[in-house]
Amino acid sequence: MRAAGALLLAAVAWFGGEASAADPLGRFPADPGQVSVSGISSGAFMAYQLHVAHSAGIMGAGIIAGGPFGCTVDRVTGDGVAALISLALGPCMSTPGLLKPVASYAGLVADLAARGWIDPPANLARSRVYLFTGKADKVVNSKVVETGVGLYRALGVPAQQIDFRDRDLPGTGAGHSWVTKNFGNACDANASPYINNCNYDQAGEMLQTLYGPLQPPAVAPEGRIVAFDQTEFVPGKAAKANGLSDTGYLYVPKSCDAAAALPCRLHVVLHGCLQSAELLGAEFYTKIGVNEWAEVNRIIVVYPQVHATTVAELASQNAQSMLNTNPQGCWNWWGYANDTMFLTRQGVQIDAIWSMVRRVTGQGN
């Protein structure tokens, strides 16, 4: 009886159930020259940061309802940047009239690159970028996303390599969400789980912007979801103190298992605030439509996960602890957890995600 139960569990794990949360992230046949990233909301801000910080190794980005690199930076200091929560909540979300000119953000990129904190921005000229803003988005103003478009142009991405879907879905338009063809809230909703059904295949258009024409998606993905240990990618394994969950998730198409003859692509998807697995379970990483496209087009998908860090979980408590928490479970785009390098290669979360990429592509240890 027990043996039958164990066999059943093994079968469930093989056919799409979750492996142990403590399993280390494995290597897969992923081509390091075909790595891309996307995100929604805070995930979009983080995707932009990751793309700019590691432009030498990332071929493209999908920015859904998010704004420009460095949006929350007030000034550069000797040992990092000083960023403000009020810039995040104000100009970078609801009062775009207070955003700096695009040239100012471009200047920040140049400054950080000159310090060696991010990759040379000249790499961005070969990137492909997809950006989206919804007509009904009441969380991140469309002009913030527009500024992100302007910054990519200023950083050298040619117009023909940018696909900007600017409030052009029919009807009332999309609310603040990852948009799907057939799952989620009403199209114009601005509520949890921030996945909306607008009869628009955002995953497909975004992936085809990044990788070129693709085969039509699978009706149902046949690959497997793998849970992996995120703590090994954080100094001192202090994942929660740095806004990361202990466990991340990976979608591996059937044709991309370890023994695959041909290399696969690698795409990183960053959820938004209040969308981590700790809150939504498997909903985000199974329902946004990416896995269906990944299955047929040999794309391994990494879904790193955020943790909503409390004061008690910070590495140390001091007079500024309240300013360093992450109550909504967002990616770090304003420097919480005392990370003054959050938007550079040395940022804890950027370094962790990049280490995951290097592990999967076989470049890291």
């Binding site: 403000l84 009020s86 810039l87 207070l98 001091n318 007079a319």
Partner: protein, 151 residues
């Protein structure tokens, strides 16, 4: 004689230790003051930028005078939206200034608290080194709570 020499030497070392602790305290206060000035400078600069931005927007493009009923309607709607935006931007600017001030105060508080904690540890170490046997002898008496005399 030996005992008096030892006591004198211990006393002199203790004095030097306390002097060094006090110098480090003064250094920390100086650093905290510099942080306060820095923070005030950043705050002042941001206030100036906000004032300049508000000034420019207030004297920006002049709207044309509407003549038709539908144009008047649209102009009123536009004016209401403009007022709402101005209010939101005002609040956002206030939040930015508040956060700058809070972070600056937090930096200063952290410097002073760190120095206070370190100074207490240093004083403790200096006392223990100066006369460890004497402190050990009197410690139990020092720690005993004397009951209050009955009324």
């Amino acid at each position: 004689m030996e005992s008096a020499t030892r006591i004198f030497t211990n006393g002199l070392n203790c004095f030097h230790e306390f002097l060094a602790i006090e110098l480090r305290n003064m250094e920390a206060i100086g650093l905290a003051q510099r942080k306060m000035l820095e923070g005030a400078g950043v705050l002042a600069q941001r206030q100036a930028e906000i004032a300049e931005g508000t000034f420019r927007r207030a004297f920006g493009s002049q709207p044309s005078v509407p003549t038709t009923p539908s144009a008047i309607h649209a102009a009123v709607i536009e004016q209401i939206d403009s007022i709402k935006t101005t209010m939101m931007e005002g609040q956002a600017n206030a939040n930015i200034l508040s956060e700058l001030a809070a972070r600056s105060s937090g930096d200063v508080a952290n410097i002073l608290q760190s120095r206070m904690m370190a100074a207490l540890d240093e004083v403790k170490a200096a006392l223990e080194q100066a006369a460890p046997d004497k402190i050990a002898a009197v410690a139990p008496a020092m720690l005993t709570v004397q009951p209050a005399a009955p009324a």
